[in-house]
Symmetry: C2
Subunit: 383 residues, 2 copies
C-alpha cells in the first residue's frame, strides 16, 4: 500500500466504535477513533480515502499468524516491503477501501506456511516446492520456486460495528527469479536462474493448489480469494520485485480460471552498465536533478532513485541522498535546495519521497504525496 | 533553527536571482529561486516565514570555514545539533529573518579555532582554556572549560541582489559541564565537574576576549556581534545542552557590557530514578501516550521523548519509538494509530516530531509543525 496524501484528510473513513468513552476531536485534520475501552473492535484510523483502515481487537493490533516468517526466509528485505504494499494495491481492485478493513493474515499459520514452502517429500507431503531430483548442478537440479507466502484478510464490520466478519482473502506467492543454494553445508553459494515463463507456470499451478487447500477451511469456503504471483528481485537488487499476474476467485470457486497479467517494472536510477532506462525522459529528469544538487555540496556520496512503473507509466520515485553533514545549518540549507530542485527537475504528478541520509541515520525528508503539488520538507531536529 | 511550518508556504521569501535563465514555477507551494547560471549569489530558498534563507555563491553552498571541527572535538553529537539550532534561534532576536540571510561562519578559520580551544601555553598564547596547573586530581586540576566555538554569519543583499554584505555575526561558546580527561595516554577516563556559576563566569570572560579579537579583523570591526554561552550536556546525556546567556554587542563595541540570562531546559521522558519532571502535566501526557501505543503492539522496545523548555514552558517534543516490525501493513497501521494517540494525548500548540525506528532505520514519521493543528504522517516506502 503506497502512502498517499497523508495530510490526514479523513474523507470516507469508516468509524468503528465500541463502548465509546470520552471521544474527543483532536484538531482540523485528525479523526480519533480510539476509545477508552479495550473491549471489542476498534480501528487504527485511516490516513486517506484511498487507504485501508486497520483493525484493533480487544485493545491490541492483530498481528499476522505467520508473522516474522518472511524476513528470515528472504535475503532481500526489499522484497518483503514491496510484496506487501503490492498485494494491498491489487486487493483494492477487489475489496474497496471504504467497505473493507485490512487485517493481517489470520488463517495461514506459521507451521502450515513453513511446510508449504519446503520441498515436497515423504515427510512433508504438503510442500509446494518440487522434490529434489538429487542433482546439485545449477541447470539440472529442481530449484525452489516458491520463496514466500503472504496472506492479507479483508473484513467488514457487523453486529452494529461491534465485531468484524471476513469478507475476502488475498494471497501472494513470492516466486524466486534466482534460487540460491549450497552444495554442502557452509559451502560456497550457487544459483539456479528461473525464467519468467517457468516462474509464471509454477506460480499458477501452485495457486490452484493453494486455492483448493484454503477452501477446506470452513471459514474460507465462501469468500472471494485473490491470489497474486510476485516475482522476487535477486538478492543484490536495489529494488524489490514486482507482481506479474493475479486472479480474483469468486466465493466457493475451487479452481483458478482467470488470470490477469500485470506489467510492472522497478528500476534503479542512474542505470549502470548497458542497462536501458524504462523511460529515458524520467531518467534524464533524474540526472538533471542529481547534477543540480551535487553542484550544491562538495561531498555528496550518492544520489540514487528507485522507480516503479505500471504499464510503462512512472508511478513513483524514492530518492536516497547519502552525504556527510556536519551541522544543522548545512542540512537545513541543503533540504531547502533539494526541495526546490525536486520541484523543478523531477517528473510531475507522481508521488516522490526523498530522504537525506548520513552515517548517523536520516537527517531530512522531502516528499510530495500523490495528488499534491508542493513538497513537504522536514529536517529532523534534536534538543 | 527549529523547522517550522514547512509546508513550504513561502511568505516573505527574499529572492536573490542573478542571471536568470528559464525560471519556472513548480506548483502551488514551492518557490523556485535557483537559476541556470552558477555565477553570483543565489539562495537556497526558505521554508517558512520564520526561517532564514541560505546563501549560494557561484553555484555552490558556502560551507563553514571551520567545518567538521566540532564533531571530532565533541563526544555527544546531540550537543552539535542543539548548539547550532539554538544559536540560530537567538540570532533571530537580533537579525530578522526577512532582512538577513544565513551563511555559515566564514571568518573563524579552522586553525584559529583549534588554537583558541586548546590550553593557553607558551607555544599557544591565544588558547582560551587555562594553563594546566600540573595536577591530575579531579578537584584540583584546571579543567578545559571551552569545548566548541561556532560562528554563524548573517548577511544582507546588496548591488541589486548580485552580492551579499556581512550584516552581523553570531558566536557560540560551548562550555563543558563535565571535562573528561585521562591521566595517561590510553588510560582510564576521569572527569572534572564544572559548576553552573563557574561555567558562566568563564564563558563571560572568554566572550570578552573573543569580542576583542574579532574586532581586530577589519571585516568584523563594525558589525553587531552576538555572543552566546552554551552549556554542553554530559557525554551520556540523551538530550543536548542549552544556552544559558547571550549578549548582543553593537557595531564597534569591544567589551561585552550587557548579558541576558536564558532559562532553557532539556529533559528526557520518561524520567529515570528520582529525577523530577520539569512539568508534571507534560510528563503525564507523555506517559498516557506511551501506554496507549504500547498497548497496541506487543513488542515496542522503547518510547522516549526529548523535551525542550524555555522559561519552564514546553517548546517542543521529539519522540522516538523503537520497535521490531516485520511488515509494511503493521507499520502502516501502527503509524495511523500513533498519529491518533498523539493528537489525543500529547500537549497541544507545540511542534511534535515522532519517528518510528527499527533496526533497519526509520520506518515512519509523524509530525505536527509549529502552528499546525493536525499531524502529517509518512510511512517510508520501497519499490
Amino acid at each position: 500500500m503506497k502512502r498517499k496524501g497523508l495530510l490526514v484528510a479523513m474523507a470516507g473513513l469508516v468509524l468503528i466504535l465500541a463502548g465509546c468513552g470520552n471521544l474527543k476531536s483532536t484538531g482540523s485534520g485528525t479523526s480519533t477513533t480510539t476509545t477508552n475501552s479495550s473491549k471489542g473492535v476498534q480501528t487504527t484510523g485511516s490516513t486517506g480515502e484511498s487507504n485501508y483502515t486497520g483493525v484493533i481487537q480487544d485493545g491490541s493490533y492483530k498481528t499476522s499468524a505467520a508473522r516474522g516468517l518472511m524476513v528470515s526466509q528472504t535475503d532481500n528485505v526489499l522484497n518483503v516491503k514491496s510484496m506487501e504494499t503490492g498485494l494491498t494495491t491489487i486487493s483494492k481492485k477487489e475489496f474497496s477501501t471504504d467497505k473493507y478493513l485490512l487485517q493481517e493474515g489470520q488463517y495461514l499459520k506459521s507451521a502450515t506456511v513453513k511446510k508449504w514452502l519446503a520441498r515436497k517429500s515423504k515427510s512433508n507431503p504438503t510442500g509446494l516446492n518440487p522434490k529434489s531430483n538429487g542433482s546439485t548442478d545449477a541447470d539440472k537440479r529442481t530449484p525452489l520456486y516458491l520463496q514466500q507466502i503472504l496472506e492479507q484478510d479483508y473484513v467488514t464490520q457487523t453486529d452494529n460495528n461491534k465485531s468484524v466478519k471476513l469478507g475476502g482473502v488475498s494471497i501472494a506467492l513470492g516466486m524466486n527469479t534466482v534460487d540460491y543454494y549450497q552444495k554442502e553445508r557452509y559451502g560456497a553459494e550457487y544459483k539456479t536462474t528461473i525464467s519468467d515463463s517457468e516462474l509464471l507456470a509454477q506460480g499458477k499451478s501452485m495457486a490452484n493448489t493453494v486455492l483448493k487447500r484454503l477452501r477446506q477451511n470452513s471459514d474460507l469456503k465462501n469468500v472471494p480469494i485473490v491470489i497474486a504471483i510476485y516475482k522476487q528481485a535477486a538478492k543484490d537488487s536495489l529494488v524489490g520485485g514486482v507482481y506479474v499476474a493475479y486472479s480474483a476467485n469468486k466465493a466457493s470457486a475451487t479452481t483458478v480460471t482467470d488470470w490477469k497479467n500485470l506489467d510492472e517494472k522497478n528500476q534503479v536510477l542512474p542505470t549502470v552498465g548497458d542497462e536501458k532506462a524504462v523511460n529515458s525522459g524520467d531518467s534524464d529528469a533524474f540526472s538533471n536533478f542529481k547534477s543540480q544538487i551535487q553542484g550544491f555540496f562538495p561531498n555528496l556520496a550518492g544520489v540514487v532513485a528507485q522507480t516503479h512503473y505500471e504499464d510503462n507509466q512512472l508511478q513513483g520515485m524514492n530518492i536516497t541522498i547519502n552525504t556527510q553533514f556536519y551541522g544543522e545549518t548545512e542540512i537545513t540549507s541543503f533540504t531547502q535546495y533539494v526541495s526546490q530542485a525536486a520541484g523543478r527537475y523531477l517528473p510531475s504528478n507522481i508521488p516522490i519521497e526523498i530522504t537525506v541520509q548520513s552515517t548517523q541515520g536520516i537527517q531530512a525528508f522531502v516528499a510530495r504525496e500523490s495528488g499534491e503539488k508542493s513538497f513537504y520538507t522536514h529536517v529532523f531536529s534534536s534538543y
